[in-house]
Amino acid sequence: MSVKLPIYLDYHATTPVDPRVVEEMLPYFTKQFGNAASRNHPFGWEAEEAVEKARKQVGDLIGANAKEIVFTSGATESDNLAIKGAAEMYREKGNHIITCVTEHKAVIDTCKRLEKEGFRVTYLPVRKDGRISLDDLKAAITDKTILITIMTANNEIGVIQPVAEIGAIAKEKGILFHTDAVQAVGKVPFNVNDLKVDMASISAHKMYGPKGVGALYVRRRNPRVLLAPLIDGGGHERGMRSGTLNVPGIVGFGKAAELCRQEMESDTKRLSGLRDRLNARLHKGLDEIYINGSMEHRLPHNLNISFAYVEGESLLMGINDVAVSSGSACTSASLEPSYVLKALGAGDDLAHSSIRFGLGRWTTEEEIDYVADKLTTVVTRLREMSPLYELAKEGVDLSTMQWQTEGH
């Protein structure tokens, strides 16, 4: 059987919308198009009912009460609302926030903005496996700490942080705990009460729902979290996020959440099997390839590998019928290699040589075999033209060589 090209293995960037989700959304564009805030006619009532159903579906996926779900435009907005909203609301209690160097830019850049406004932020380092040290976290806490924001699973390396342990520490110290759970929710079990999370950011388009809709879970009791809104207006979403609700998007988000809840177990089993198959096949065909981040604490559908002596962008050129992403500087707008991989301490050269594979609901075994075999061929070819590979084979230690770096 031949595979259909191109192959999509970039499910961490976004996912296609499940056809069952689309079907659920369609009536809300044309027939049931009401504004969920219209209180005096059936069009509004229908829309509100649909939104409340979705709120429950999303809440059920993460063990939250429907009332604790605030719909937003996506996880970037959710991260901003959680961090800036808590910072403003609890400013009198303290001005210190703790986060981590491998967070998504939506968290890091929000924290940087707050630093300009007088907040103090601690960026915890990660160990080689990509996880923070709980001792570092405890040591960073002061009597001015009002918020800890640590992601559940990393978007590049798929490494899962010790969220339950962080939640317990935060709880004990009476500090709010927010987690960017975008990559984890719908893929691995995530329960806000088990994990003692006070706020969690979620995005629909990472879990087979539509783009442009997300949510922030905001705990209502023990403690009751209050947030200053970023957007003022009609007082929607308990005053935390004004703006007419994106009803079709929210309906799709709800359906996507329901499907993830029902299919998580079988999806996880299937995808971790395929991911391990990809990993094994690559290791069989190639030497000197390195997995970035913990394999034990990792999303089941993620693999991030550095192919030593080969640069990432040239690797992507060679597999141009496969959609993946690279930590190479050449593939990013900033011309800097991945800050996540750099934080693992692997060295910039391995960051330049990395590829992130994200598997998903429609990934097949044939696709995995095709990608593994093609990569093996391309890496072998590129190594034959790599001066680094040649030097390494001659026994030169590349890390101690003097490189001429000026001007580059």
Binding site: Y309, V310, E311, G312, E313, S314, M317, G318, S328, A329, C330, T331, L335, P337, G347, D348, D349, H352, E384, M385, S386, P387, L388, Y389, E390, L398, W403, Q404, T405, G407, H408
Partner: protein, 144 residues
């Protein structure tokens, strides 16, 4: 990013990949760039001692498609040129030939650096070997 057809052609069919014996007195080797910057080029020239013309050129590159294409093109251009003609190759010529976008100009700069480094190495070897061989007049090749 969209690549020009010439970059893709050099990437898919790189010219003159390989290595020349680096201890050969007529071979000059340039190794420029750094792994942490994402580009390393090794470029070698073999100069005919009788004519001063570059007979052969080889490269190996760790880098993006544009870096591979720039060095591949450089080896093509080097063959048949005298050492002095080779030094006249400018990175802008490579940019034009390969239609490199602004973010890839550094690849062409690196290729020019590699050419200059290879020729400097060749000249250095000639200088030392000329001293060593002073009096036996077997190394009467042009050095400037």
């Amino acid at each position: 990013m969209a690549y020009s057809t010439k970059v893709i052609d050099h990437y898919e069919n790189p010219r003159n990949v390989g290595s020349l014996p680096k201890d050969d007195v007529n071979v000059g080797t340039g190794l420029v760039g750094a792994p942490e910057c994402g580009d390393v080029m090794k470029l070698q020239v073999k100069v005919n001692p009788q004519t001063g013309v570059i007979d052969d050129a080889k490269f190996k590159t760790f880098g993006c498609g544009s870096a591979i294409a720039s060095s591949s093109l450089a080896t093509e251009w080097l063959k048949g040129k005298t050492v002095e003609e080779a030094l006249a190759i400018k990175n802008t010529d490579i940019v034009t030939e390969l239609s490199l976008p602004p973010v890839k100009i550094h690849c062409s700069v690196l290729a020019e650096d590699a050419i200059k480094a290879a020729i400097a190495d060749y000249k250095k070897k000639q200088g030392t070997s000329a001293e060593k061989g002073a009096g036996d007049d077997t190394h009467a090749q042009p050095t400037a």
